[in-house]
Amino acid sequence: MPQMIIDNKTIEFKSGQTIIQAALENGFDVPHFCWHPGLSVAGNCRMCLCDVGMPRMNPDKTPALDEQGKQIYNFLPKLQIACATPAADGMFVRLNDKKVESAQESVMEFLLINHPLDCPICDEAGQCKLQEYGYKHSKGESRFIETKNHKDKRRPLGPNVLFDGERCISCSRCIRYANEEAQQPVLTFVNRGDHNTIETFPGQEFDSPYSMNVIEICPVGALTSQDFRFKARVWDMSFNETICTGCARGCNINAGVRDNEILRLEPRVNMEVNQYWMCDHGRLNQYKFVNTNRVQQAMIRENGTLLDADWSVAYTRSAEILKHYQAHEIMFFGSARATNEDNFALVELARHIGSPNIDFVRYHDEAFGDAKLRHSDRTPNAKGAETLGVKPGNGGVSADSFVHAVQAGKIKAVVIIEDDIAGLSSAHAQALASLECVIVQASNMTATAQAAHVLLASATYAELEGTYTNFQERVQHVEPAVVSKENASRMGLKMSRLDKFGAENDRWTNGEKRDCRMHWRNLTGIANALGAGWSYKKSADVFSALADKYEVFSGMDYALLDERRGILFGKAHEEYVPVFEYSSHDLKPQS
């Protein structure tokens, strides 16, 4: 591999890389605004200037050495931009010296001439690149006493993105994103000099299904989210890693949580799954159901109404009712929205009871899928449910024949995890209503939950620990992002500052801590009430049982899944080369 020297440290790089790529991959900090690894190189912000030298050669092509025998370098007369200068073998780069520092200072002073400095009301504050570099690479003083330019402060570029002209530093990341990634080239610069600003072409708006990614890549607070605007300061939220369950892609995301409520979702880099992006649909919808319309606790129907019950009572009751029926009269609905662990536990329970009637419902929507991220399978774990054998056994009733089987009196009891079966069609709703035993584990108060005889509150993706298998057959690990009674003991450090230090009687920390449990835990409760003697205590126990049993999962465990950012079926034993993950700007200082 070719070698170069950055700040007196010799590093290796891949040929074809630019200086900034080589430097970032080797842990150097190169200030930059306009460069983004997912976009073309524009080289217009000049923040990444560095001093570049090449080894001097004697006329006879031998290296020129000084008296001490050290290589002499010829430095280029002007500073070069690290983002557009290819790294070369033997190159010497200075990222930190007087000349570079003074260039950075000048660029910062220039960018701040017309910047409004409205950090107090700017949603970006706390994770803004301009703020960060203002501390690190600028004198913190301006020589400009003239009045600042005024521009539009609240212009919608599309339905979800608002543009603040005064904060824009004209880096063109958003324009390049719209052209190259969103494939909707509607943004452009207009006017010149300090009147330069961004506009959409007349009569067009930036409404691509991926438009909101510009909010993250904008290095400043010029592009803000219509949905999130002013909901919280970034330092008041904890950003907890999780996975979007909006479709079979399983984009890696962070959930911004304050007061135990998810306030926003944003993409987290995973080069194999979603790279740097996520879709607007996921971003706008995948947190709302976590916050609202939840099933609050275990409930049992007495004389027609659902009443609160103890968990252990609900488990025993479920087992008692199930015992009234023959195994082949009971139907089990797994779910492509539940984790591998949950579906595994359900399959085991059906096996324990001896019922062949097990299946799950598929949610396909061709109109949703596209060639970028969105997948026509609208569930996060159909692959997992399939692989773990959530399908009818010999002569078993399938999801499609369920209504018919109920009408024919073949099915008399049903156990449902997660899915809203009654919401599928009125025939399904009627079928459920006609049954005497409907055991439902649901996170939200759906029609199915309301039809239950025993209702067990279940954790959403944001409260559980488990794994999902996306359409690529990549198994990905999720950990809880919000606190529930079940996971409270492990969440301490992951909570936001306010949640961590609030007391019971503080109004700002009374966000609900729901009494919901993971499906596999509920299923274990029922199975044990039926005398199965399962000993699962935590998700990892279920996962290791599952990994022992199914070849494709063998060798996987949660730590390994985290380290490799997800593992493809059957690839746990293969060698793994870590990939560099660029993140444009994060909350500073990182907690």
Partner: protein, 173 residues
């Protein structure tokens, strides 16, 4: 001095006259007697009240201008508050020039330690320490003051604002 066992005994600590107490009691009585003829420093509250000057750090309040509150709900006071007494929820308005305002602003006076950091950090001079030191609450809920109790017309805060202008905590170089 320590006794051989390593324990300090009363005998080690005190001399003979101290150990018999009586001279010490007499000294104490003499001090008390002398105080009876000194001028009194206590006040007959509530008939007689203390009128603080601008430098006094009483209950923090929000400054109310003619066209509404100064606060832009930046949350810096809430961030800096060492006692986590302040909660701010920002909202957006299209009516005023300042697009951001506090939809909710609450100070929990049971938490507040009157340090004045919120006043110091505020970029809008929107929260200041008032002269109010009379805080009586019947229960915890009552001690959480909302916007309606916090907003104070700017005219009533002139002393403090004047004090802040003349005594900046931080002098920019």
């Amino acid at each position: 001095m320590r006794s051989p066992a390593g324990k300090e005994t009363q005998k080690d600590r005190m001399g003979f006259w101290e150990r018999i107490y009586l001279p010490e009691i007499a000294k104490g009585m003499a001090t008390t007697f002398k105080q009876m003829f000194e001028p009194a420093v206590t006040r007959e509250y509530p008939e007689e009240r203390f009128a603080p000057t601008g430098s006094y750090r009483g209950r923090p309040v929000l400054v109310l201008e003619e066209d509404g509150e100064r606060c832009v709900a930046c949350g810096l006071c809430s961030r800096v508050c060492p006692a986590l007494a302040i909660q701010v929820q920002a909202g957006e308005t299209l009516e005023r020039d300042k697009e951001r305002y506090p939809e909710k602003f609450e100070i929990n006076m049971l938490r507040c330690i009157f340090c004045g950091f919120c006043e110091e950090v505020c970029p809008e001079e929107a929260i200041v320490m008032s002269k109010d030191y009379e805080m009586v609450f019947q229960n915890r809920e009552e001690a959480i003051l909302g916007k309606e109790k916090l907003l104070t017309p700017v005219a009533q805060l002139q002393d403090r604002l004047e004090y802040l202008r003349t005594h900046q905590y931080y002098e920019p170089k």
